[in-house]
């Protein structure tokens, strides 16, 4: 993953700050009520906290391990980051029987990605830094999309509404998971932005691109297949606008592998 020196420095400083604050600021609670109080003080949602407590007590996980995991959710909340996805990861790990130390590490990484995603989005437009967008950006990075690619997509979509930017970031992650490189994602999504695709059209385009990629087609050729080359695509776009047709983009996705309501 390419990272500028500045980015590395910021990440390092932030990591150190969080480590210091969690290790020095909070003494490890010695009993469950004390840990619960910590969670309540941090404003964590009570339902997942109860779920985590139940899991811990059933699996005989000690208070120290529980604090190591929940400490990251507490930290996220204190940093005004979305804490729900952190707790969801803890619940997932516990449900799968993952050792607490691994859950704590994955939670730490999730908090880091949430923090970075929020910084990138805030830099583009602070109004877009709402939970669903931050989570979509963080999950894209968690899946492996580079921070630079996320930044380019966010910059390109800064004039979008929050829901549209969220859809764009989710599309980026989907492309990556289907085999696109991080460097291929921004051009593909900027194509979609320039054509002002709505969310349904974006989804269709991404599905088509993913299917073609999984069949081995190169990203450049997929874009050509979708838009028919730069000139052609611009002309098609103009014609579509001229004809007053807003819907439909290039070839269809060839039918979903599962319809709505049936995976």
């Amino acid at each position: 993953m390419h990272m500028s020196r500045m980015t590395r420095a910021v990440l390092l400083m932030w990591g150190v700050a969080i480590t210091v604050s969690t290790s020095a600021g909070d003494t490890v609670p010695t009993d469950w009520p004390a840990l619960q109080s910590l969670c309540e003080e941090a404003g964590l949602d009570a339902t997942p906290v109860r779920e985590i407590f139940r899991h811990c007590q059933r699996e005989r996980i000690g208070i120290g391990d529980a604090h190591a995991m929940l400490g990251w959710a507490i930290e996220a909340s204190r940093e005004e980051l979305p804490a729900r996805p952190v707790m969801a990861k803890i619940v997932e790990g516990l449900g799968k029987g993952v050792p607490p130390e691994d859950i704590a590490e994955v939670s730490r990484q999730r908090v880091r990605h949430l923090y970075r995603a929020r910084e990138i989005i805030r830099a583009a437009d602070g109004r877009l830094a709402v939970e669903p967008v931050i989570v979509a950006g963080a999950q894209a990075m968690e899946s492996g999309v580079s921070e630079d690619a996320v930044r380019v997509v966010v910059e390109a979509g800064r004039d979008s509404r929050a829901g549209d930017l969220q859809a764009l970031l989710e599309a980026g992650e989907e492309l990556y998971l289907a085999g696109f490189g991080s460097e291929d994602i921004p051009p593909m999504l900027i194509d979609c932005l320039q054509r002002r695709l709505n969310r349904v059209e974006l989804r269709r385009a991404v599905r088509y691109a993913c299917q073609q990629r999984q069949r081995g087609m190169e990203p450049r050729r997929i874009r050509q297949a979708l838009w028919g080359g730069e000139q052609g695509s611009q002309q098609q776009h103009q014609n579509r606008e001229h004809n007053g047709q807003g819907g439909g983009i290039g070839p269809g996705p060839g039918g979903p592998r599962h319809g709505r309501g049936r995976p």
Binding site: G93, G95, K96, Q109, R260, P263
Partner: protein, 194 residues
């Protein structure tokens, strides 16, 4: 009747002397009027047969009020507050139930059927982000004659991750999912978008 106006006023005021001042003719005339008045107050007038049907037949089915007039009649004025009241009620409901403004769509759960082909399995379970990855909540039924297991669950719109648990120990992602995501713990989750 000379001075009748004054007489009437005095009589209405309840002056008994006023009646005494009336001549016998006037008294008789007054009695006639009083009787007619009582008759009007208590009379039950019967209408001829078919009267109602004839009236209804000539009435128009609807009164043609111009649309502009109708809309104006809903707006404040004339003591009516229909549109502001409805708008206010809708805004209250939207705020109270936290309707998602970002996703824009409806939040109704969708029935989703998950299937797995596992003819040799003794049990198959579905766990995922939608049920807190809890065991024992969504057992698949099966196998059918073709070795398929299935379960239908309601899912909220959005992106969900899930796995199948075979024979209570082996976790596998759905082989028919269109998207998979690494879970960070060394496994891969299947992903479904609703």
């Amino acid at each position: 009747m000379k001075g009748s106006k004054e007489h009437v006023h005095r009589m209405l005021d309840g002056d008994p002397a006023a009646s005494a001042e009336l001549s016998p003719d006037q008294t008789e005339e007054l009695a006639t009027y009083a009787k007619a008045l009582r008759g009007l107050e208590t009379a039950r007038v019967s209408v001829p047969p078919g009267f109602t049907e004839r009236v209804m037949a000539v009435l128009p089915e609807s009164i043609d009020v111009p649309w502009g007039e109708r809309i104006r009649s809903l707006w404040p004025g004339q003591g009516r507050w229909v549109i502001p009241a409805v708008a206010g009620a809708m805004a209250t409901v939207l705020c109270a139930f936290g309707v998602p403004l970002i996703t824009g769509g409806t939040n109704r759960p969708v029935e989703v059927t998950f299937e797995l082909h596992a003819p040799d399995a003794r049990s198959v379970e579905l766990i995922g982000s939608f049920n807190g990855w809890r065991r024992g909540e969504a057992a698949l039924q099966g196998p059918d004659a073709t070795g398929h297991w299935s379960v239908t669950v309601p899912l909220d719109p959005g992106r969900h991750e899930y796995l199948f648990v075979i024979d209570d120990r082996q976790m596998v992602p759905d082989p028919s999912a269109s998207l998979y995501r690494p879970d960070g713990f060394g496994r891969t989750n299947a992903v479904i978008d609703i």
